[in-house]
């Protein structure tokens, strides 16, 4: 391990504030910016084409100041907290701020610069007030396909197998579409119609943000607005520091592991060191960090940073209106040449999915009471595609799955949800699936006994089975299929994630990651999303709650005898009563 260590901090306060602090204007502008990003979200999601954007909300809108500092993002934590890297890189790539013009639209998807894979294209629109650069309106969104060996390949060995790279280029220059680039883009996707419509929607979203910023300038004047935004960032910083002061000083550690690198089958263990001192936190990923991996699980530095930030911001409870200021007290250390700071052309298509937020939270779980036990991890995704019937266009569907969440100190895990990293996503309606693609959903139910037992049990996972009604292809990705969602404080682990293919000849195949698998008619694909870990020893569970779980069918008799033998329901008449 010879690479140098990089230490990443968020941009500091840069502007000296001319006037006295005006808490009223600050709060008004802060809420108006949040409102602006909601308008961006809505404009985009209502006019986009691919279901990743319209149904699953796999995108994030943000507004930035002229120094590329995030002023506000409402949701989409992982994108939100790495988008400032994308803005900076895109602007640098075209020659810096001085080269920008009003009406420019920049696009970038180089994951070493943005953090996430190439499907996540970030659009950056500089905003001007006269000659002055006010800031940027920007959206990062998951596009259905950007070329590459397959849509969303899980077994690439090189960055260049992962599709078209946009290193930060003009899509529009001073309001004029760059037709050459446009044709390049549409020639490098398997779904040009969707890409074209999605680009228009994303740009419409950015324009909505630009107009909202324009209204703020008109209302407050440039100087007053800039003072307010500086205060907003300082406020974010103060909120975060106030949280960190409530965490006892100390050195905390968690061990985590990736299932595999997408090609081989070997577990990849890693360690996270978290040091809290006063009102700062340092998350150090240099200790025995895994080297750059052969498969696409490498996490480019921007996403490594974003994962840490998302975890800390979530733990602080202030994740819903985030800005660059929140990130100032968070320091991330990673070593170049490791999985957490790979060098081009290392493959990154699965980027940070494996290194998920839960492990950073786990390190702090002894000292931050709000942190729950382990959940099902952050991914159980499928991408399906096939040829259309007759004249019909080729089809493609991307579907991720919610899963069990960990129990907390005060309650059982709730119904299955998407994890923090994809908090805004929604599952596709089954009836939309069946009306859109030659796929039948055979079942989609809670998985009894999948939750980790405990004083508070985890949330249940789900079992979903799809059947291909014709020949098609599948990419599937499951993580945390080897390391089950952990319990805390004596709680038991939940069920791990799993994907099983059932071939028409009766053969079954279990897998964690597969790319472009050819499915023939009648093949079934079963996704089993894991359950959350329990909190506290199972022996301390209230027998009434056990009886209720039995009555609801969340828990079977066998699992009950196994996990809660001490409170055997038959021994207690109160239980039989509650069951009825």
């Amino acid at each position: 391990m010879t690479g140098s260590i990089t230490e990443v901090r968020a941009a500091p306060a840069v502007r000296s504030i001319e006037r006295d602090v005006d808490p009223v204007t600050t709060e008004i502008v802060r809420q108006a910016l949040a409102s602006a990003t909601r308008q961006m979200d809505l404009t985009l999601s209502r006019s986009a084409c691919s279901q990743a954007m319209t149904e699953s909300s796999d995108f994030c809108s943000g507004l930035f100041d002229a120094d590329a500092r995030l002023l506000v993002a409402n949701r989409g934590a992982l994108f939100a907290l790495s988008m400032s890297f994308g803005v900076t890189a895109a602007v640098d790539a075209v020659g810096g701020r001085a080269s920008l013009r009003d009406g420019d639209v920049l696009v970038i998807n180089d994951g070493f610069l943005t953090g996430t894979h190439k499907n996540d294209i970030q659009i950056v629109c500089p905003l001007f007030v006269g000659e002055t650069l006010l800031g940027y309106s920007s959206v990062r969104a998951h596009f259905l396909d950007v070329g590459g060996k397959e849509p969303l390949a899980t077994d690439t060995t090189d960055f260049h197998q992962e599709g078209l790279t946009l290193p930060g280029v003009y899509l529009e220059r001073a309001g004029e579409r760059c037709d050459d680039l446009w044709r390049v883009l549409l020639s490098n996707t398997r779904y040009p119609r969707e890409m074209a419509g999605d680009f228009e929607a994303v740009m419409a979203g950015c324009r909505a943000g630009g107009r909202a910023m324009g209204r703020l300038v008109a209302r407050y004047g440039l100087d007053r607005l800039l003072d307010a935004t500086e205060h907003i960032l300082n406020h974010g910083e103060a909120s975060m520091r106030s949280f960190l002061r409530s965490v006892p000083d100390g050195e905390y550690r968690a061990d985590g592991a990736f299932d595999d690198d997408g090609i081989g089958d070997e577990l990849i263990p890693f360690t996270i060191d978290v040091s809290v001192q006063g009102d700062e936190v340092v998350v150090d990923l240099t200790h025995d960090a895994p080297p750059e991996q052969h498969g696409p699980v490498n996490c480019p530095l921007p996403v490594t940073v974003a994962i840490v930030r998302t975890a800390i911001v979530s733990a602080s409870g202030s994740a819903n209106l985030i800005n660059e200021g929140h990130m100032r007290p968070i320091v991330v250390r990673a070593r170049e040449g490791t999985m957490f700071h790979p060098r081009t052309p290392a493959p990154i298509n699965l980027y940070g999915w494996a290194f998920d937020i839960d492990f950073v939270l786990r390190a702090l779980s002894d000292v931050v009471p709000a942190i729950p036990a382990g959940g099902c991890g952050d991914i159980g995704a499928t991408m399906w595609w096939g040829e259309g019937d007759g004249d019909a266009a080729p089809w493609a569907m991307l579907e991720d799955h919610p899963g069990g969440q960990g129990a907390s100190r005060v309650a059982d895990g709730g119904p299955p949800t998407f994890p923090l990293v994809t908090a805004g996503m929604r599952k596709l309606p089954i009836e939309v699936w069946e009306a859109s693609a030659p796929i039948r959903v055979e079942s989609y139910e809670l998985a009894p006994d999948s939750a980790g037992a405990g004083r508070h049990r985890g949330g249940l996972g789900i079992d979903v089975t799809y059947r291909a009604l014709g020949d098609c292809r599948l990419t599937a990705i499951a993580e945390r299929s080897k390391l089950a969602p952990w319990g805390l404080d004596g709680g038991l682990p939940g069920r791990a994630n799993a994907i099983t293919i059932g071939y028409p000849d009766g053969r079954q195949e279990h897998l964690t990651k597969v790319s472009g698998l050819r499915l023939t008619e009648g093949t079934t694909v079963t996704v089993r999303m894991g359950g959350g870990g329990g909190y506290g020893p199972p022996s301390e569970r209230d027998p009434k709650r056990i009886a209720e779980d039995l009555a609801e069918g969340y828990l079977s008799e066998q699992a009950c005898m196994r996990d809660y033998a001490e409170q055997a329901p038959n021994a207690d008449p109160a239980l039989t009563e509650a069951k009825a």
């Binding site: 808490p23 009223v24 709060e27 008004i28 108006a32 949040a34 409102s35 909601r38 308008q39 809505l42 999601s45 209502r46 006019s47 986009a48 691919s50 279901q51 319209t54 949701r75 119609r193 969707e194 419509g197 228009e200 419409a204 324009r207 909505a208 406020h235 103060a238 909120s239 979530s314 733990a315 409870g317 994740a319 939270l361 729950p372 919610p402 309650a411 709730g414 119904p415 299955p416 949800t417 998407f418 908090a423 805004g424 929604r426 599952k427 309606p429 089954i430 009836e431 939309v432 069946e434 009306a435 039948r440 055979e442 079942s443 989609y444 139910e445 809670l446 789900i462 609801e552 969340y554």
Partner: protein, 677 residues
């Protein structure tokens, strides 16, 4: 000849508005009786019943919160839910999304626990074909379990039943054959649209509120009979029209938004009457601010509603709520920023200036401290405690170096900005420019903010309606009777495929006209179609041109250009060369009630209004100055008041900042205009 009356049951008061040719307008109030709302209705009607005004009226329009409260309090029928095998947990898995980026986020529990969610073997495909026939024994088994669990009503929501309801109907037939005599709700009768979670939720809500609503309607009918009312009762529906009692018994879930729609219906009527192309109904009460866009005299509709996190797949007046109101609390957050709401002081203790023990400052305290509420004599004999308001404001202001006066200004500016953001969102989302809209401000605190919102949003003007404190009841009287039905129809936008649209329309109209309308004029047929680009997912709704018999007059070309125009307006771009697709057809039948003459009688009192003034803070001037103090009851049609002025009436206060003027319209509404900036 017009006689009619309306009663709106609110959280605190049950309001009556009555119009009678002989006596003109009457307004009454009684306390709401939450356990038995018909009591409050009966109480308020007794004020006028003795004069024979109820007995001779042919029409009673009513808004209530029976269904809404049943859902909010989760107090409804004990339900069983039948689903397709493999899909027992549609209700609990929902969308799988998180409502917030929070470590331990969880939705409220499902209305039907898993033990009473059972499955039957059957399967229909998306194209409506039957893949697996219904297994009868499963229905019998499920019924045994339901009976053992004392289930009162059964909701049936099978997969793809929107495309073919054969198995839902078969389940119902069997449940009846097996002797089940409770209520049964079938998903396809409520919605013929795809999305199983939304349709299941709708069905469950329907079954859940059914006994409450029908019991209430029964008891209400008896009360009305006791006071010799023999006319027709119409209930406000969530889609913004009135529905007959018969319809409400059939589709009780459509009354879930029966309360809030009254004010919007009134605002829509005023907007139509004044010929406003674009208006925003803005209702500010104690805890929430409700905003709704009105275009060409019609409230904006969505195709999905929501109550307490439960989606309803029905047309829904698009009222957006934010947690801002007179009771919203001001506080400093952990980062030292001044924040207002969404937490509220509620009815108890309420604002500090109400003297009921509140010590945290609220929006009302800020307004009181600035003199905006005049001398502070409110309805019900409440006299404001100005010293308590100032003391509460100081507790928050001192740590950031603001005195009570400065903090109060800040609180009002922040809450105004919150409301302005919400208003901007409802207009901009629809591709409308908020600056071209007229604000219609009502509710206890709405008129206080009318001029502040005009400045914040650069609006052309505002309207403060007549009877602003009873405006929801007034609005109920202005509705048409409406029935609606939607169907999922997925087809390319081509002339050949429009036949499917035409037949779906014909079926819908036949269904809508099957039961006769008891009241009103000739039914008017209206329809819209949901369209999208082939590669898109969300749709835009565009109107269809119909012949008198409901037949389709549009061809694919006219629809395509209508869609393209709407798309450009809403999003600023179009997708050239992309084909279009129909996804749903929505039919409605509207029966207008005879119009009520909006002109209020000239109420000019015998004597001229007394000259009076007070000192209050002017936001435009940035300082305190003299405000004229006028009782609204002293103003007659055509009278004009120039700001700075404060107009008082028993249930609300209109704050007219310097540079604004207000004029009394023939309807009794005040029209507020900015004279200068």
């Amino acid at each position: 000849m017009t006689h009619r009356f309306a009663v709106d049951v609110g959280g605190t008061f049950t309001d009556l508005v009555l119009y009678d040719d002989a006596v003109g307008w009457r307004v009454e109030k009684a306390s709401t009786t939450p356990a038995a709302p018909e009591q409050g209705v009966s109480d308020v009607l007794r004020h006028v019943a003795d004069e024979g005004l109820v007995a001779r009226s042919p029409l009673f329009l009513h808004g209530n919160t029976v269904a809404l409260n049943a859902l909010l309090e989760r107090d409804g029928a004990r339900l069983g839910l039948l689903a397709t095998r493999g899909f027992r947990d549609v209700l609990e898995i929902a969308h799988g999304d998180r409502g917030a980026i929070a470590l331990d986020w969880r939705p409220s529990p499902s209305l039907v626990p898993r033990r009473r969610r059972l499955v039957v073997t059957e399967r229909v495909a998306a194209d409506g074909s039957v893949l697996t026939p219904l297994v009868e024994a499963d229905v019998a088994d499920a019924l045994d379990t339901f009976r053992a669990a004392d289930v009162e009503a059964i909701a049936v929501a099978l997969l793809n039943a929107y495309a073919n309801p054969v198995h839902e109907l078969e389940v119902e037939r069997q449940l009846r054959a097996l002797g089940f005599d409770g209520e049964i709700s079938l998903s396809h009768r409520l919605s013929r649209e795809l999305r199983e979670y939304e349709r299941t939720s709708t069905t469950v809500v329907d079954a859940f509120v059914r006994p409450k609503v029908s019991g209430y309607l029964q008891r209400l009918g008896e009360r009305l009979e006791q006071i010799d009312f023999s006319g027709h009762t119409l209930l406000a529906s969530s889609s913004g029209g009135a529905m007959t009692v018969g319809d409400a018994r059939q589709r009780p879930f459509e009354t879930t938004q029966s309360g809030p729609v009254g004010g919007v219906a009134g605002a829509a009527r005023l907007a139509a009457d004044l010929g406003l192309e674009s208006a925003i109904a803005a209702d500010l009460g104690g805890t929430s601010f409700d905003a709704c866009l009105i275009t060409d005299g019609r409230p904006r509709l969505r195709h999905e509603g929501e109550v307490a996190g439960m989606p309803l797949q029905i047309p829904w007046v698009d009222i957006r709520s934010i947690g801002a109101g007179g009771g919203s609390l001001a506080y400093l957050d952990e980062g030292g920023l001044l924040r207002v709401g969404p937490q509220s002081a509620g009815a108890m203790p309420g604002p500090a200036c109400y003297g009921r023990g509140g010590s945290q400052p609220t929006v009302t305290d800020a307004a009181a401290a600035l003199g905006m509420l005049g001398r502070g004599k409110l309805a019900g004999g409440v006299a404001l405690d100005f010293a308590a308001a100032a003391a509460a404001l100081r507790t928050v202001g001192e740590p950031i170096g603001m005195d009570a006066e400065q903090l109060a200004q800040g609180v009002l500016e922040i809450v105004t900005a919150h409301m302005a953001d919400a208003l901007r969102e409802v207009t901009i989302e629809e591709g409308r420019d908020p600056r071209e809209a007229t604000l219609i401000a009502f509710g206890g605190a709405g008129p206080l903010f009318a001029t502040l919102l005009c400045d914040e949003l650069d609006l052309v003007g505002a309207i403060v309606p007549p009877l602003a404190g009873n405006f929801s009841a007034w609005g109920l009287m202005q509705q048409d009777v409406v029935r609606g039905a939607s169907r999922t129809v997925i087809a390319p936008l081509e002339d050949a495929a429009l036949a499917t649209v035409g037949s779906a329309l014909a079926e819908s109209f036949e269904e809508l006209l099957r039961d006769p309308f008891e009241e009103g004029g000739e039914p008017q047929l209206e329809a819209t179609v949901d369209l999208r680009y082939d590669s898109q997912s969300h749709t835009l709704t565009v109107p269809l041109q119909l012949a008198a018999d409901g037949g389709l007059r549009d061809d694919a070309g006219t629809l395509a250009s209508r869609f393209t125009e709407e798309h450009r307006r809403a999003f600023g771009h179009v997708l050239d060369g992309e084909a279009m697709r129909v996804t749903a057809v929505r039919a409605s039948v509207r029966v207008p009630l005879p119009p009520v003459d909006l002109t209020v009688t000239d109420t000019r009192p015998a004597s001229a209004p007394p000259e009076d003034e007070t000192v209050a803070f002017s936001f435009r001037r940035g300082e305190r100055c003299a405000f004229r103090l006028v009782e609204r009851a002293h103003l007659a049609v055509g009278d004009r008041v120039a700001g700075p002025a404060i107009l008082t009436e028993p249930t609300t206060t209109t704050y007219l900042d310097a540079g604004f003027s207000a004029e009394v319209l023939p309807t009794g509404a005040l029209t507020i205009k900015a004279e200068e900036r």
